[in-house]
Subunit: 339 residues, 2 copies
């Protein structure tokens, strides 16, 4: 059997799965940002009638999955696997969301890389002929993440300028063995990269080396160059990470200055919305991809996109024990056309 | 393209991946139990020279992965993907373990179902022609789990008789597209089942309904009957869960009384070792599978095994918020012969 591998970390899908629908749901702050017209639902209240931030986040993810499925004119019974994860301890958001859906469930943890981790596995499972239809989903919530990873909200802690703002939102993608695109065509799976950063207020800096590693490996494996993409977009590196990406990839011979962006930069107006270095959280890449990128691809304003969601794989315990922050980045190529 | 699916939740692998090596490492208590002769390494000290329980657990998982790879006469560079997860918040065990290995990494969270979640995904990725060799791994540590999920060890809390004892141990499996078996032949992926149990000292009771759901679905999908297996073994349902399994599956027409066991029951002598309802934790199914089951299959004392690792997908936050415990169970068939 011929392997579908090209290069050290990349696979080329033989029958590229099609994205047949998406959904995105965001909180009020995200709904006031530059991408507000791309989201399916903007909440007026980030509690959404629930009694805790955590339960609200689970409802956001569940409703995003249901909406993506109904946008494809399907029901949950038509979906063979759900691939989902989130930031909360023991990914309770995804487990409580999946509990309502009755779909065979693979729980993932990739921190903010979860959107492309789920798309990678979902696309390979379809291309491997194990399923016709899968859903890939993730979410985050500012208030559940802030109190888990940083401080109780009531403290009103001062935030550093390298700090990012966790997105309240959830996104879901329905992948199918048949469809008219956009298609997932290449998958470059990341290794853990940890250059020793211990500052949990500088996630962009901690994750950028992993993104650089995956992006440069993607170019080596595929033979693509930056100009072959309409958009190369990382998950949530923010302003600090963006500068590192552009500088260090240029040193490796890749000029991304014309077509690089970051979901964390796109989602907020950093100055007007006081979000410092930008957005973050699993939900950041999820809603920017399932909202903005997908809809721009459907309008043919973008035709080939490299999405690289990035994760910081630490916990509050590992930070207290003096550990540095392991980063990871998973890349997927999304194409309107397949050759 | 013909799908490799048979029935609602099961796939049949077209070129069943072979298990070409395994490794298991356990703590001192597990090394005094009935399966002591099956483990590759028994630690004299469950800290293993590390400065925290969490760092010890990461070392256990990392060394189990390295040992499995070297047992196959391979190096980490030969492995295309690592599928791993664990119980700790943000699966830091697996991330810190993977950081040392430089292998493209998919982080999973399935609680104590992780061993079969990782085997399921790893086997499908090989059968789908995306990789020749993958490693599937998980671990747990009594002391890191106890203080995260229950109470500080220093409290010396009284334990109920339905409580289980988290296994200190890690296990890893190398799957290959070629080899002489045992082979992964069928995969039945579980849905979340939650019958409303809220008692975190009765995990076996909380997870048993999910195991029943997956096992009976496996028989329906494959046409197998219990007698077709030499051993049907759940992950860590313990004595409470075992009784529920036997009773409820009998009501569904499946008599498992002759060939059913549970990794949590096998690993400890419950009376002598004061482990109450049995062992638990991701490491329980991991070391029983990679130690006992694999070696008994290699000796041809077992030829067809159904392994159903079971997970309780709650967190201490969800428990405090009054949520019940969602359960999940993923089953894999391991066969010495393929037809």
């Amino acid at each position: 059997m011929a392997l579908k591998r090209i290069g050290a970390q990349t696979v080329k899908l033989s029958n590229p799965p099609s994205i047949i629908s998406t959904a995105s749901i965001v909180g009020p702050k995200e709904g006031e940002g530059p991408l507000k017209d791309y989201f399916d639902i903007i909440l007026e209240d980030d509690m959404w009638g629930q009694e805790s931030f955590e339960k609200s986040e689970a409802k956001i993810q569940e409703e995003a999955i249901k909406l993506a499925i109904s946008n494809a004119n399907l029901s949950p019974n038509d979906i063979e696997y759900l691939f989902a994860g989130d930031l909360l301890n023991q990914i309770i958001t995804s487990s409580y969301s999946a509990r309502q859906l009755n779909i065979p469930f693979f729980g993932l943890y990739g921190a903010c890389s979860t959107m492309t981790e789920s798309l990678s596995l979902g696309a390979m499972i379809i291309d491997g002929q194990f399923a016709d239809k899968v859903v890939c989903a993730t979410s985050s919530h500012f208030s559940s993440a802030e109190r888990q990873f940083r401080f109780p909200l009531e403290y009103g802690s001062q935030r550093t300028f390298s700090a990012q703002w966790t997105v309240t939102g959830g996104g879901a993608t329905v992948l199918s063995s048949t469809g008219n695109g956009p298609y997932i065509t290449y998958i470059t799976t990341g290794k853990i990269v940890d250059l020793g950063i211990v500052d949990v207020n500088n996630m962009g800096g901690a994750m950028a080396p992993a993104a650089i590693d995956t992006i440069s490996q993607h170019f080596k494996d595929t033979g693509y160059n930056p100009v072959d993409y309409d958009l190369i977009i990382t998950g949530d590196l923010g302003l600090v990470g963006k500068k590192i990406i552009l500088d260090l990839l240029r040193k490796e011979g890749y000029d991304l200055s014309e077509n690089y962006s970051d979901c964390g930069i796109k989602i907020f107006d950093g100055v007007e919305q006081d979000t410092h270095a930008g957005g973050s959280g699993c939900g950041c890449a999820a809603v920017v991809f399932n909202g903005y990128i997908y809809k721009e691809m459907m309008k043919r304003n973008l035709n080939r996109v490299l999405l690289i969601a990035t994760g910081a794989l630490h916990s509050s315990i590992s930070t207290l024990q003096g550990e540095s922050i392991p980063g990871i980045a998973h890349a997927v190529t999304i194409d309107n056309m397949i050759s």
